[in-house]
């Protein structure tokens, strides 16, 4: 049996478990695809062929011996290079971190995916220190959009988007502080899950904004998101913000469909400030689901502003010594925002944290009358690499901060979201829709996303070569 680059993680694992193909054969095909596509698309900053081959052979030996190595057996995956990988310095997209000592242990989520049988194959390009929505990187070059390589992959998890959308791997891990999973998912046409704040451990990853940092998976199917999420969820002493609870698995719930779920369109703030295709995608999803009712998310603009200030301030505090000692080694686009962040008053940030909490509490009231909300993921399809501004509502706006205008309030409230990719006939590039649920209801947003995928309203095809 041969599995091509379009195979999903679930398909690969099923075939390996049934012994229709070996983990080593799957891995070798994956490495060939990386070797062929990465030179032009620039997703990987490290490929771990020797480590991955040793692991694949060990899995094949275990299977031959009658063992069950886990639900993700033989699935190649890669991680944004802010995840610790044994033997590599954790770059976080920077030049400065290249002098860090190599990590002596894998990040928690890598350990958990490998405990379920998956195989780490490499580390992925990203915007410097995750302060980015474009996928551009001054040191490693931009990760390119596989569907239109002159266009952005989206950031800051750009390499993760590029690697999965090009079929180099079926699954990637990424981080999302203000939208960095959902923006590349939208621009590259992928399913991406940003879980509830505190639900997946950040242990063993390079931070950005402790108050807002989330980790999650990106894939080409919702079943793969659920399988990866289930394998990774759970408490972890390495992340003080990780909740000490376990709410069971989500994958078995996908089959429930959308029956009983009250789905609404996010109105007001989420109905302007973008190109028409952003709202058309939401409407297409809503029409397919028979959703007509709109709800207003109170304080959405204020929540975005709060996230903006918290990000500036906490990011600047994290990098203060590096800004002082190695200013010229930063990406200029990142440097100036971080220096500015060091200069804003503490009272603004303290108030922003309270607004964040208030927004969250008001969202809980919204979720008493709705289970799932639909909103645009990005204000536009992928801009061209290097593009600095875009026209929105007749005003010229900077691309870099505004690609996250719709994602930023949602992560500010810590809410779980699946970004689902929507395609329009005749258009080369997709655009995403956020499927948002109440805290700890990842099952709700994944059920809706799975329904949309099953009906063909949302899909994540591998970009043709």
């Amino acid at each position: 049996m041969t599995l091509g680059p379009a195979a999903t993680a679930s398909e690969i694992a099923a075939a390996v478990r049934r012994r229709q193909v070996t983990a080593r054969a799957v891995l070798e095909a994956c490495l060939v695809t990386i070797e062929r596509r990465n030179p032009t698309l620039n997703a990987f900053t490290a490929v771990l062929a020797a480590r991955a081959r040793a692991r694949a052979d060990a899995l094949d030996a275990a299977i031959a011996g009658g063992a069950d190595p886990g639900l993700l057996v033989g699935v190649p995956f890669a991680v944004k290079n802010l995840f610790d990988v044994t033997g590599l310095p954790t770059l976080a997209g920077s030049k400065i971190n290249r002098s860090r000592a190599p990590a002596t242990r894998d990040a928690t989520l890598i350990e958990r995916l490998e405990a379920a049988g998956a195989i780490l194959v490499g580390a992925l390009n990203m915007g410097e220190y995750a302060y980015d929505f474009t996928g551009e990187n001054a040191h490693d070059g931009p990760s390119r959009n596989p569907h239109a390589p002159a266009h952005m992959s989206g950031g800051s998890s750009g390499g993760s988007g590029t690697a999965v959308a090009s079929g180099m791997v079926p699954l990637a891990l990424a981080s999302d502080t203000n939208g960095s999973i959902r923006v590349p998912s939208s621009l590259c046409g992928l399913f991406g899950l940003k879980p509830t704040y505190g639900r997946l451990s950040r242990g063993g990853t390079f931070p950005f904004v402790a108050s807002l940092d989330h980790l999650g998976p990106m894939a080409r199917s919702v079943a793969d998101l659920a399988a990866a999420f289930d394998a990774m969820a759970g408490a972890d002493p390495l992340d003080p913000a990780c909740a000490r609870r376990d709410d069971g698995t989500t994958a078995p719930k996908l089959a429930l469909g959308i029956s009983g779920l009250r789905i609404r369109i996010a109105g007001d703030y989420f109905r302007h400030g973008g190109h028409p295709e952003a709202f058309a995608a939401v409407d297409r999803v809503a029409d397919a689901l028979g959703v007509t009712e709109t709800v207003t998310l109170p304080l959405a603009a204020e929540a975005r502003a709060a996230a903006y200030l918290i990000t500036m301030s906490e990011g600047a505090a994290l990098h203060h010594v590096r800004l002082r000692d190695r200013l010229d080694d930063f990406d200029p686009d990142v440097r100036d925002r971080l220096v500015a962040g060091a200069m804003i008053p503490a009272s603004w940030v303290a108030k922003a944290q309270k607004v964040r909490r208030t927004f969250h509490d008001q969202m809980l009231a919204v979720f008493e009358k709705a289970d799932v909300l639909l909103a645009p993921a990005t204000p536009c399809r992928a801009p061209r690499i290097g593009q600095k501004t875009m026209l929105i509502d007749g005003r010229e706006m900077p691309v870099r901060p505004n690609l996250g205008v719709f994602t930023q309030p949602i992560s500010c409230g810590g809410l779980p979201v699946v970004a689902v990719p929507v395609w329009t006939e005749g258009e080369a590039l997709p655009i995403g829709v956020q499927v948002i649920a109440a805290p700890w209801r990842e099952d709700h947003c994944m059920r809706v996303a799975a329904e949309l995928q099953q009906r063909g309203i949302a899909s994540a095809p591998v970009a043709p070569e």
């Binding site: 509830t196 704040y197 505190g198 108050s211 913000a241 909740a243 304080l299 603009a301 204020e302 502003a305 709060a306 903006y308 200030l309 500036m312 203060h320 800004l323 002082r324 200013l327 200029p332 440097r335 100036d336 925002r337 220096v339 500015a340 962040g341 060091a342 200069m343 804003i344 008053p345 603004w348 303290a350 108030k351 922003a352 944290q353 309270k354 607004v355 964040r356 909490r357 208030t358 969250h360 901060p401 810590g414 109440a438 805290p439 700890w440 209801r441």
Partner: protein, 61 residues
Amino acid sequence: MSGDFDADRLIDAMSELLALPVSPDCRQGIALHLRVARTMADSVLAVELPDEAEPAPVFTP
């Protein structure tokens, strides 16, 4: 409220206080980001909250 904001004076004062160098090619970008931050702060500061409002980042169903 944001229009009378003099970013250059803030940059000069904070650069010294924080021992953060600000080269001429950085200054314009930093000022731009400070002006955006001021706009964001206007939005945040306008939200009326009781003295008892908490920032606690706990997220539960």
